[in-house]
Symmetry: C2
DNA sequence: TATTTTTGGAGCAAACGCGAAACAGAGAAT
DNA sequence: ATTCTCTGTTTCGCGTTTGCTCCAAAAATA
């Protein structure tokens, strides 16, 4: 199975969480079956693309019927490893970091921020949304106790690279980087960027230069 | 010139803000010239790709020399319309909305949040980081005064679609959507999604299924 | 002057994403 | 039972993007 999963295009992989969340909504609203066109309307992805995305995983649907919501949901749960909660650290409890702490990832994602870190003495020991804030120096120790492999990076830009190195050294293998900095990390560490400024500027540029 | 710009691949367009910001850093640090390989190290984009991205705009560099930072910067400023400040509304002053208000887009982006909107009576009239908060009902009036064409949407998910419709009706043509909701809007409106949960889940999925 | 550096341009192959069309099979209607 | 319709599955081809390689020309350097 793992060999097959290797072949899934990255673009498809990015859409999976989207599908999963919408299926959850459907399930909770009591819907039992769903067609690719319905899904398409909801998640704004071409129905043919959805069908092919699904077909990477084999025959999930029934012809002339559609997809069974519950079956599809349980399948995605397995595929996305939604059974177990993924533990996440958050590093840098500023405005954005605080907002993310209060943003409830757990509810729909089965990911959970288990600890937060900062260097500001005023923040240490505080509790935001049930997450306790430690000093960065405690990272290695905390890592031993709560074995998170992913960190959300929301420190100020000048501290980004240095902090990332600390994270890597402590054994973090995935970083969700909210800083504008392009991080230099070993090849074994995966970094995803969410660059708010770039997103905004790209939108501006597209609006001005790619009229719809 | 506009005809040429149409031909720029979207993938390139998305990288432009990235280049721009790094060039700004270089400029402020006093560097006068830069090579594509230097840029490549910094922004983590293949140097050949960078050269080709640049070459879409004509011959910007000098052979055997590299690129003149100041010239390149001023060129991008023009191309990205960085001369004028793009006005932006922010709708939904919750945790994330507040964080974005405090996040200083203006400094590097020449985009500025000029007004914020909410429906919570306690928020109306408040001032966060110099941005005054109005009631959503005032949107049409404020729009007339401060002609922003872009809105950042940070309302709770259940209110997303309804709010988006209000924005469209008021004449907003670009929405940066931070809600998990997939918005249904007219074709004339461009929506970019930043879906925090999806980003986090995608990272989890990649870590587990695409070993580096 | 000779050498090194670095761009710009062309070309190419591989990967990828996506839309469309053909196909097959299940359910519904008559 | 037969036909019709809907829908998933599969395959195909087109366009985009990317990384790579050459090469020539220009600039800097020694």
């Amino acid at each position: 199975m793992n060999i097959d999963q290797q072949k899934i295009p990255q673009a498809t992989a990015k859409r999976l969480p989207l599908y999963y969340r919408f299926l959850e909504n459907l399930y909770h609203s009591g819907k039992q079956r769903v067609s690719s066109t319905e899904l398409s309307d909801a998640v704004k992805v071409d129905s043919a693309t959805i069908r092919r995305d699904f077909s990477y995983f084999g025959a999930l649907g029934k012809k002339g019927y559609g997809y069974n919501v519950q079956y599809l949901l349980s399948f995605f749960r397995k595929t996305l490893d939604q059974d177990e909660v993924t533990k996440v650290f958050l590093v840098g409890v500023g405005n954005l970091g605080t907002a993310l702490l209060k943003y409830n990832f757990t509810k729909s994602d089965n990911t959970q921020i288990v600890n937060a870190f900062d260097v500001n003495p005023d923040m240490i020991g505080q509790d935001i949304s049930g997450v306790e804030i430690y000093h960065m120096n405690d990272l290695p120790d905390v890592k031993k106790k709560r074995d998170a492999s992913i960190a959300i990076l929301t420190v100020p830009a000048p501290a980004a690279q240095e902090t990332a190195e600390q994270l890597v050294e402590a054994g973090i293998t995935g970083i969700l980087n909210f800083t504008p900095e392009r991080l230099t990390v070993p090849e074994t560490v995966r970094v995803h960027h969410i660059d708010l400024s770039v997103e905004l500027q790209t939108l501006v540029y597209f609006l001005k230069n790619y009229p719809l």
